[in-house]
Chain length 155, copies 2
């Protein structure tokens, strides 16, 4: 495997990240790919970059972005005031699946949560993503919760 | 029903909120109740208050706090850069369950998410909380995801 660096995303990574989100089976129905990226993605990137409790990250393999995820560091009262690290929008390039990259990227993200003092890491995964479920369970995650979503259509 | 105000929590609400967290079947094993509250709760309260993307809220019924929840407003790239409102740590006082208070509190929280421009509201609920699952489903939430947790014990 080529050397991989996991690092916070830069604005110049945005087209590659949006492409990874759109490459996904569910994402292909939800995302729009264009050059330059849709301004809604740029707004979201700026909001993430402005929030010290958000980290958008990429797997960088010699100038090619081959993976992405976002960590939200969440303060909360429950569990004696434990911080939570929440991982969202995990994607690995199709060409790199099965290579161990996803596992290394998640291990890196969990270490980032630990370094920030989190007592818990949490994520949700669509029930249709059975391969992902086995992946998270191998990493020690427990499917202890039901994950609920409520879409809010524009008014 | 007495008039209820849903509002951001004040520091003086902290003992009542911790008591609500601890009253819960799962919370009773995870929380510590003391006067004054354990300093870890105060630190967590301050972290929430300092973060404009966090809102700890209470149901206030004439000086008695009868419910609580936390909303995290999360920027993200997925779904065309949609903001998400995430609801955590929902609790209703035992004496007020079945009164409709929980439903009103959740409806208020969803409206807050809508007012902040969120395209999605999400929450997870422990798989043992089957009453809560019926409650969320009545409110229109779909259990579309598996919710994974990984505890990070102190090093």
């Amino acid at each position: 495997m080529q050397q991989v660096i996991f690092r916070p995303a830069r604005r110049s990574d945005l087209p590659a990240i949006v492409a990874l989100l759109a490459e996904d089976a569910l994402g292909s129905q939800r995302e729009v790919v264009s050059t330059p990226p849709d301004p809604r993605y740029l707004s979201a990137f700026e909001a993430i970059a402005a929030d010290p409790n958000q980290m958008l990250a990429v797997a960088d393999e010699g100038e090619e972005v081959t993976g992405t995820l976002q960590i939200s560091f969440l303060p909360g009262l429950a569990r004696k005031g434990a911080w939570r690290g929440q991982i969202e929008a995990v994607r690995v390039a199709a060409s790199r699946r099965g290579s161990g990259l996803g596992q290394r990227m998640l291990a890196w993200a969990v270490a980032e949560c630990r370094a920030r003092g989190c007592g818990l890491v949490q994520l949700t995964s669509d029930k249709s993503r059975t391969d992902a479920h086995r992946f998270y369970e191998r990493l020690g995650f427990l499917a202890s919760h039901e994950g609920y979503k409520l879409a809010l259509p524009p008014a």
